[in-house]
């Protein structure tokens, strides 16, 4: 029922959240014409939209939209280590993912919950293997991610947003890191799942005696070009046969390479704009 | 993957006791040692209305008029002339801080290490970068205790050629009271490996290094062959086994354990199983006592 928000007037003690009384929105995973609810085929990805320079105050920032998932990320450049943490020669990455209260149908408590902290830790691990740490000795790089809306594949979108924001912040990285997620539902791999599909999978009623039923979701954060493909983050939940999981891993890596080109295009546009501005500035100064 | 049940395993019997056949009297803190005030008071004891009382748990050693109680497990105090193994923890201007398994980090000054290039290169290494070129954080060094400063910290020196940076190998930490005191610390054992029994409990097992490049500060990174690795692995497990059963560690005891483990054809990886450890320890003690 979410945490007790002292400022709000709540219903009587025994009240039940309205969301429990709603009829389960989706009976079956696929709709009548045997395609996914939003009409995509299993191998299609959602529409992606990437942009850079959303937050003027930050050293680097990015905004990523994948289907309904909307994530914005701000990077605050190498600065002195804030809290009195112990002395480390190498750079420290401070990562904080914050799901805004309105990002899910059921309102989330304002303070960061377990899922936020878990995602922050996983993202911190991934980014520490992407950034070239020994170029920023004794300093700290802060990556703050705010989730505007969770439309499925949230961690994958966060990884892409963080990679893009770091590139925009001119922080040295081995390669652009891109995230992708894949859902496995009765023997078929669904690429780039939406939140309804993820929830259907998580809440599906499973009869206990059919022990080896296979389902699961896989999220991969990857650097496609660096040393022919390096996986910086991989998380899988649910239970799957070993070779199905390996097949899912390959599918996710192809998705990463596709997304990589889109990220590259965004960055190159940004670089062109900066160079054009610089050229005008120089001409302006000469005349 | 072998899973054992704790209740099936033999109970670990510590075979305590220095070499001597009869066991010296053990005392616990607070026990009265003697009322006779003519004895001199040594370490580990204190006077209380003219009776001498033990302040640590250990065994009593009497040297004509002096009574001391030496504890069994003890942090390394340090004695001048001891050869010990240490790990560099900090690099400061013209000195290094070294962890030597004792209360305080010891100090190794740039002036008292013996540079292969001789005197004149000393000044060029003054700044921190030069120092780091010689010894970095984490490096292992074999050094000698030169002086004990009044706060208990040790001053180290690496004067002769056999001291200096240790090359490839593996380190093992045991309780310093188990290491047998003897002059020669660095032994090239017949089975083809070099073991440095640091007086501070750090034992370093490494392949035998040819004599002339012992004290250079460059490390050779070429691959150690497989059979040497097998002997080093077996030696390491023997030392761990002796320490686990509190048997005094000396070149002889390690070599006997090594030979016994070969006779009874124990695989190297099985040597750390409690029952195997028990057998080898018992047979080693019997072999040592003959």
């Amino acid at each position: 029922m979410g945490s007790r928000d002292s400022r709000r007037i709540l219903g009587p003690e025994k009240s039940v959240a309205y969301s429990l009384l709603q009829p389960p929105c989706q009976r079956s995973f696929l709709n009548s014409t045997n395609t996914r609810t939003d009409g995509r085929s299993p191998a299609d990805t959602r529409k992606h939209f990437l942009s850079v320079g959303l937050i003027s105050e930050a050293k680097g920032s990015s905004y990523v939209e994948a289907g309904n998932t909307k994530v914005c990320c701000g990077v605050y450049g190498p600065r002195d280590v804030q809290r009195g943490s112990d002395f480390k020669m190498s750079c420290q990455v401070v990562c904080q993912v914050k799901m805004s209260p309105f990002s899910c149908p059921v309102r989330l408590p304002p303070m960061s919950g377990d899922r936020d902290r878990e995602m922050s830790r996983q993202l911190k691990n991934a980014l520490e293997s992407v950034i070239i740490l020994d170029k920023f000795p004794k300093s700290e790089i802060d990556v703050y991610i705010t989730v505007v809306e969770d439309g499925g594949g949230l961690l994958a979108a966060c990884v892409t947003a963080a990679g893009l924001a770091l590139a925009h912040a001119n922080i040295d990285m081995y390669d652009i890191v891109v995230g992708a997620s894949v859902l496995y539902h009765d023997k078929i791999m669904y690429v780039d799942p939406s939140r309804q599909e993820e929830e259907f999978e998580a809440k599906a009623l499973r009869d206990p005696n059919n022990k080896n039923e296979e389902w699961g979701q896989l999220t991969v954060g990857m650097m496609p070009k660096y040393a022919s493909g390096q996986v910086a983050l991989m998380i899988q939940s649910g239970q799957m046969e070993a070779n199905n999981l390996v097949e899912g891993l390959e599918l996710a890596t192809d998705l990463c390479t596709k997304l990589y080109n889109l990220v590259k295009k965004t960055l190159l546009e940004h670089v062109e704009i900066i160079l054009k501005e610089e050229k005008e500035a120089i001409e302006g100064a000469d005349t | 993957m072998d899973i054992e049940l704790a209740c099936e395993l033999p109970r670990v019997r510590a075979m305590v006791g220095p070499e001597g056949p009869q066991r010296p009297p053990l005392v616990t803190p607070g026990e009265i040692i003697t009322h006779d005030t003519s004895f001199m008071r040594g370490h580990g004891t204190y006077m209380e209305n003219n009776t001498q009382v033990a302040s640590v748990a250990g065994y009593i050693t009497r040297v004509n008029r002096l009574i001391t109680v030496t504890p069994l497990r003890q942090v390394y105090q340090g004695a001048i002339g001891d050869t010990i193994v240490g790990r560099i923890t900090k690099v400061q201007n013209n000195r290094w801080k070294v962890d030597v398994n004792s209360r305080l980090d010891a100090e190794l000054r740039l002036v008292n290490i013996q540079l292969p290039g001789g005197e004149q290169r000393r000044s060029s290494l003054e700044d921190e970068r030069g120092m780091r070129g010689l010894l970095r954080e984490g490096d292992l060094v074999c050094v000698e205790v030169q002086k004990i400063s009044n706060d208990g910290g040790l001053r180290l020196a690496a004067r002769s050629s056999k001291f200096g940076k240790l090359s490839q190998g593996t380190l093992l930490g045991v309780s310093p009271s188990l290491i047998v005191q003897d002059k020669q610390r660095m032994h090239d054992l017949p089975c083809g490996a070099r073991v440095v029994f640091g007086a501070n409990g750090y034992v370093y097992v490494s392949p035998t290094v040819p004599e002339e490049q012992a004290s250079t500060y460059t490390v050779n990174f070429e691959e150690v062959p497989v059979d040497v690795r097998k002997t080093i692995g077996r030696l390491r497990n023997c030392i761990k086994l002796l320490a686990h059963h509190s048997i005094m560690i000396s070149p002889t005891s390690v070599m006997t354990a090594y030979d016994i483990s070969i006779e009874q054809e124990f695989e190297i990886r099985d040597m750390l199983k409690p029952d195997v450890m028990q057998d080898v320890a018992i047979t080693t003690v019997q072999a040592m006592n003959e």
Binding site: R121, M234, I235, Q239 | M1, L5, L140, F221
Partner: protein, 290 residues
Amino acid sequence: MVDINLSDAEKCYIIDGVKLGIRVDGRDRLDYRHLEIETGLVSTANGSARVRLDRTDVLITVKMEMDRPSPDQPNQGRLRFFVNCSANAAPEFEGRGGEDLATTLSAMMDRLYSSPYTLDRSCLCVVPGKHVKVLYVDIEILDCAGNLFDAVSIGVKAALWATHLPRIYVTGEDGGELEFEVSDNPHDTERINVSNAPILITHLRITENLTIVDPTPEEEECGPVQVVVGVTPSGLITALQQLGQGTFTTQTLSAAIKLTRELGMKIHTHLTAKLRQEESMENREIRGFL
């Protein structure tokens, strides 16, 4: 977990060893260290287990409470994991040091036991919608010497296996409130079916494409990136997660996943056999911590 810094010479020795198939203590790449297990040693808990993997020491207890079910799963019991890194496990754990490891570990265990097949939660329900049993699993880390995830996951499975829940009878109802009667006969208990509970296997990447199992702290220091893979007794891969700073190639990951399948099934059969054997021993003497 415990960060000791090693010299380059030692790291090179360890990495070459893994390439040649002989690790520092003689093990091969897929060998586990000696594992000791004991259940039922805490009398105040419904179920308990202690796992010792060489020096890693973990104590896991299961206690049952009654609670209201969560609204969206009215007839399902709950399983809650709490990890406590006590300061005596490692100096870094005191204060907030161990907290990061504790949250990672408990999040990992939550995900491992999140699927409904691991533990049949519906049999934990007493009155659907009103009262269910909640199992609080407390994991106490006594000593940490590498490979904590495997030791904890094996311990949790053993502890749940050894859990005896008192049977609860609904005796009657007055004015809408149900009355319960908990049977106080110690033998009238229910057991939890743990036959399908998964365990974790940690693969540490040492060189480009070589991964080792059951890493020691020194090996963890050489290769910072690990992948922790959950496996069920029937060989299905559950909660997989990559930890630490570093990257994997897809081939190494696939190899590790396939490896986990065989290794996992072997460990499961071995573990259940040992637990059954321990169960069948009459008047078994609890070894505990002696």
